[in-house]
């Protein structure tokens, strides 16, 4: 019985691989366990406190770039959320801008115009071969050399460009504005159904309708009409130079702009290459066949080429979005108050809880990245070939 058991382990492939796998997992678990134990032991030995109690004591510092109110009396936990929102803000804005620039440049690189094609080529080769940190610092330095606050560049009377940011009037919503907002929502939903209606009509009769024009008009004019009906329930608070700074209005800080330009211009270069390869991957025959059918060139691009190119574009595009999001942690270099800078930097220093805070920051980035992957994978599925093609 005993010998039989050992024989089985050594000579039976299934049992053997099972044994090896459990061994590997066991060793790995032991490794993690030992590291954790050793760290806890070392921390205790050096008299360094640990734990998550610090999250509920007041942070004691201020953050000026923030989406939710924050004062120095708020807790470190709230500082975490302020940082998280700033990270998400730069990630979302950056991905959006990078996608637009990337698609444009990718298409221009395939253009038949020699000048445009080569300008795009130089842009791509330059930006993707210079480290993104260097670019961020470059754009930030340029922004810092804008005029000082007292010599602000005035645009349309109420907009000011200075090295402390771009100041603009902020909207004040008065009674009745919600109706205007709702009218816009309803208009958008209405155009959605209208589009389906026109499409059905087109399938039945073959007649084409200027869907895009009609829908745009509905979306633009509905809220405007309601705006006047409700008696213009919107006012603007313009920034005014008072003392050291502008009072009132809204401001976009140079730290944010530096990050936005740095991240999106850098990532757009990679996206443009992805887009180019996606378009090239669609076989020449597709284009020739659609030309033979007499489709207009803009229809060929929109209806034939792009949908097929997207299959190739989406997976690498996802990884570019992930890169951009992770690179947003470079905000620390220019003082953009993201998760790593505020919570992972200042809070860490005030409380000394390096391990706890870094674990939280890591888990947060992991969650953000996995969420992006999840939705991009969903989208990827929706653009793949349907059926058994």
């Amino acid at each position: 019985m005993q010998t039989n058991f050992f024989r089985k382990i050594i000579f039976d492939e299934k049992s053997r691989s099972l044994l090896i796998q459990t061994l590997v997992i066991g060793l790995f678990a032991l490794f993690i366990y030992l590291i954790t134990q050793q760290t806890a032991y070392n921390l205790e030995k050096r008299g360094i406190s640990s734990g998550f109690d610090f999250l509920h004591i007041s942070a004691g510092y201020d953050i000026s770039i923030r989406l939710i109110p924050f004062t120095s009396e708020d807790t470190h936990l709230r500082a975490y959320f302020v940082g998280l929102l700033n990270t998400l803000m730069i990630a979302v804005c950056g991905c959006f801008l990078a996608t637009i620039i990337g698609f444009l440049v990718g298409i221009i690189r395939l253009s038949s115009n020699w000048l445009f094609r080569n300008i795009a080529y130089v842009y791509v080769e330059f930006t993707r071969n210079v480290p993104v940190l260097v670019q961020i610092i470059l754009y930030y330095s340029i922004l810092l050399n804008l005029p000082k606050i007292k010599q602000a560049i005035v645009i349309f009377d109420n907009f000011y460009l200075t090295n402390r940011g771009f100041f603009s009037p902020s909207p004040i919503f008065k009674d009745g504005f919600s109706i205007v907002a709702w009218s816009l929502v309803i208009a958008i939903i209405f155009t959605f159904f209208l589009k389906r209606f026109f499409k059905k009509k087109q399938e039945e009769t073959g007649k084409q309708y200027p869907t895009f024009m009609i829908n745009s008009a509905i979306i633009i004019f509905t809220p405007i009409i309601f705006y006047y009906i409700m008696g213009m329930p919107l006012e603007f608070d313009s920034p005014v130079l008072k003392g050291f700074n502008f009072k009132g209005g809204m401001v976009i800080r140079p730290e944010f702009l530096g990050m936005l330009f740095g991240l999106s211009i850098y990532t757009a270069a990679f996206i443009s290459e992805t887009v180019r390869s996606g378009i090239i991957s669609v076989s020449k025959g597709q284009r020739e066949a659609s030309q033979a059918l007499g489709l207009k060139s803009n229809f060929i691009m929109r209806l034939i080429i792009i949908p097929q190119a997207l299959r190739v574009i989406i997976p690498p595009l996802t990884s570019q979005y992930l890169n951009l999001t992770k690179n947003s942690s470079l905000g620390i270099a220019i003082g953009y108050a993201d998760l790593v800078h505020g919570f992972g930097g200042i809070s860490l220093n005030q409380t000394g809880r390096a391990i706890e805070i870094m674990m939280m920051v890591m888990l947060t980035y992991l969650t953000i990245s996995l969420t992006i992957s999840f939705f991009m994978n969903l989208y990827n599925k929706s653009v793949q070939f349907k059926g058994n093609a």
Binding site: G26, L144, K247
Partner: protein, 341 residues
């Protein structure tokens, strides 16, 4: 059945390996002697306190504390390797054992002393947080700073003092966080912020490096207590004693009028405290585990506190700081070392 058995066997195997790996740390003093040089955490560059000079040699009053410890341990003040640390990593670098001591204009606070596992061994500069503005703004008091943009180095006690000061006086401000002193200088001179706040000593040091130092004024308000001093890891009291008394030796040296120039003559002094300090009366070095001439080495190679102060940050240097609080208790300051006996 097989599954459970194989799992059991693998568990036994893995648990067998799990003997505790106890980290064995010798005393810092032994480690330093073995290595043959002192690893000293310094600023990344703060003129007068800790910065490399034109020849690449580190200089400053914080650096002199490192040199004093090296003189005490090795009899050679030059046996120091300086590890530049930012305000953010300085404690981690010390905790992890990468450096033996930290002498880097660091404020002694309760939480750092207790919670971070550090031990502050003394104060080599009594400082306080101040504000610097451009003269053209016409500001003469920190109470007039409502609405200003303030440049501030992150990871310091300064940002908390700043928040408290503006809150207490019901004023608003925009904080512009920067990572290092030089970045703060760049942002301040570019006009990204109206005010630069840090320890007053740091403001003087920064100002000395600006193209036109006279265009900037340090406001009279000092909004905090910032006792700056060297720190070591908690739990090695012998090493802490060596660093503490190396600094004290410099202060006592000034008190007794011993300078690097007259230290040899003073060996034949009549004053018993001088004789004890310079090791003519033997026995005090051994208490610290050092040679009897340890303090003699400090005073002959580094000099006393006053020499260090005047050489690096005194009124005859570009930094131009008066002794003020940092004068000896006999001269109206609060600098005071326990007696050498």
């Amino acid at each position: 059945m097989t599954k459970i058995k194989s799992l059991f066997i693998s568990l036994v195997l893995t648990l067998g390996v799990s003997t505790a790996i106890a980290g064995s740390h010798g005393s810092t003093h032994d480690l330093v002697k073995e290595r043959g040089k002192l690893m000293c955490g310094s600023n990344t560059g703060l003129a007068g306190f800790g910065a490399p000079n034109d020849a690449g040699v580190w200089e400053g009053i914080d650096v002199d504390v490192c040199r004093a410890v090296a003189a005490a341990v090795f009899g050679d003040a030059s046996k120091v390797e300086y590890v530049p640390t930012t305000s953010k990593v300085r404690f981690t670098v010390l905790q992890s054992g990468e450096i033996d001591m930290l002498s880097r204009n660091t404020t002694w606070t309760l939480s750092r002393d207790v919670d971070l596992g550090l031990e502050f061994v003394g104060v080599n500069y009594y400082d306080g947080q101040g504000f610097m503005v451009n003269k053209s703004l016409g500001v003469s008091s920190a109470m007039e700073l409502d609405g200003a943009s303030v440049c501030i180095q992150v990871g310091t006690t300064t940002e908390m003092n700043l928040a408290d000061f503006f809150k207490a006086n019901d004023m608003s401000y925009e904080s512009v966080p920067v990572e290092t002193n030089s970045e703060a200088d760049a942002a301040y001179t570019a006009g990204r912020c109206d005010v630069y706040t840090t320890d007053a000593s740091g403001l003087y040091a920064s100002r000395a490096g600006y193209p036109d130092p006279s265009a900037h004024v340090v406001l009279p308000e000092i909004v905090s207590k910032e006792p700056l001093g060297p720190a070591v890891r908690h739990g090695d009291s012998e090493w802490a004693d060596i660093v503490r008394w190396s600094l004290n030796a410099m202060i006592i040296g000034e008190e007794l009028g011993i300078t690097s120039a007259n230290v040899d003559e003073m060996k034949s002094s009549k004053n018993p405290e001088v004789l004890r300090l310079l090791g003519v009366d033997a026995g005090y070095g051994a208490m610290l585990g050092l040679s009897d001439d340890w303090a003699y080495n400090i005073l002959s190679q580094v000099g006393n506190y006053s020499e260090s102060f005047e050489k690096h940050i005194g009124p005859n240097t570009p930094i131009n700081i008066q002794r003020g609080l940092n004068a000896l208790y006999k001269d109206g300051g609060i600098l005071y070392a326990p007696p050498f006996r």
